[in-house]
Symmetry: C2
Subunit: 209 residues, 2 copies
């Protein structure tokens, strides 16, 4: 099994934290996104979508998409459970992880990818070129702040994003907060539940991954 990572990128970091929480050691290959290594023939043969993370399995096939990789790892290494222990918990975690991806991560990515100079003509991940849309960056900024408010409300009644236990939804949300800082977007000062939660999850050893 080989894990294709980029040490500086937010999406593979979700998998790195997941691996750290599970205590799984896996052969890791760094893909240099800054120099465009993901578009080269070698990596394209592994993942035609040209994105990390990717997990190459022993049969040579490849898994991409964070949630699919984590699901596979959870099946192989059930403890500690990060995707839930019963049907209802699994569904709630899946729901919150999806909300974080759609309302959080994708909004941060809109804000970031549509403004930074280095991504001109590359505003969408993957092999095809797309021009930046400044209005979309602005929309992204507004959506991120709206999402932080939403999350603050959820965390008023819950220790973790999906309830009483730490899960993939916390990993995804913590990475969202850190990724947002790349675009100078921070948690609102008065989002006290969100800040209390962030301090707890960012204090776990896995957050260094």
């Amino acid at each position: 099994m080989r894990f294709f990572d980029c040490k500086t990128a937010p999406s593979p970091r979700r998998v790195r934290i997941f691996l750290a929480e599970k205590g799984i050691d896996v052969e890791t290959v760094q893909v240099d996104l800054a120099s465009g290594e993901q578009f080269g023939d070698e990596f394209r043969a592994i993942n035609p979508d040209c994105v990390v993370p990717a997990l190459e399995l022993d049969d040579g096939s490849c898994l991409s998409e964070v949630i699919a990789i984590c699901q596979y790892l959870e099946d192989q290494h059930p403890e500690p459970p990060l995707l839930g222990s019963d049907a209802l918990e699994r569904a709630r975690i899946s729901m919150w992880n999806a909300k974080v991806e759609q309302q959080g991560i994708s909004a941060v990515a809109d804000a970031f990818r549509n403004t930074v100079r280095g991504l001109k003509g590359k505003a969408v991940t993957g092999p095809e070129g797309y021009e930046q849309i400044p209005e979309l960056a602005e929309r992204g900024r507004r959506r991120v702040l709206q999402f932080f408010r939403r999350l603050d409300g959820q965390l008023a009644d819950n220790r973790f994003v999906a309830g009483d236990t730490f899960s993939i939804a916390d990993i995804s949300a913590m990475v969202t907060v850190d990724f947002a800082r790349w675009s100078k977007i921070d948690m609102p000062e008065d989002a006290t539940n969100l800040r209390r939660w962030y301090d707890e999850v960012a204090g776990r050893p896995s957050a260094q991954a």
Copy 2:
């Protein structure tokens, strides 16, 4: 258990097809998206994100997000499996469903929501207002066609989207193709694998849901 649906909308249709494939009967409540019923106090108390589908459970709590609802239903009604039968199949289906959501459905939604007159000031689902961005609609159109090419390649070697068996990934992809037609985007004429697959899945009785 109550299923909050809107008969004309693509996202809840994914759950309707899932229910039909499983042969599950559930009390269904229609939410009139056209008149803005999703923003009213009654539905907002059920799902503060103001979107369908939503599944209200017997304890009064609510699940939203298609994948979470389907996961819960699969746990309660395992046969026929639509999320996979072993670890690798589960991961592959999860991966393809995620690709369809990110590369397909979200691109179609960008194309649709940023152009139609009825969604002026409502370009993003949910309770907050967002203006339409015509450039994003154009980007969406390009991305949909790119995704159709990608899917055509996958279906050259596979009967179904995630391999040999019909799954949630097929449901999501079929709904993407039908939703794209709302914006007059169709499968390319020469995408023969995609068209062969579409004819097969659209011919299943569940596609009428």
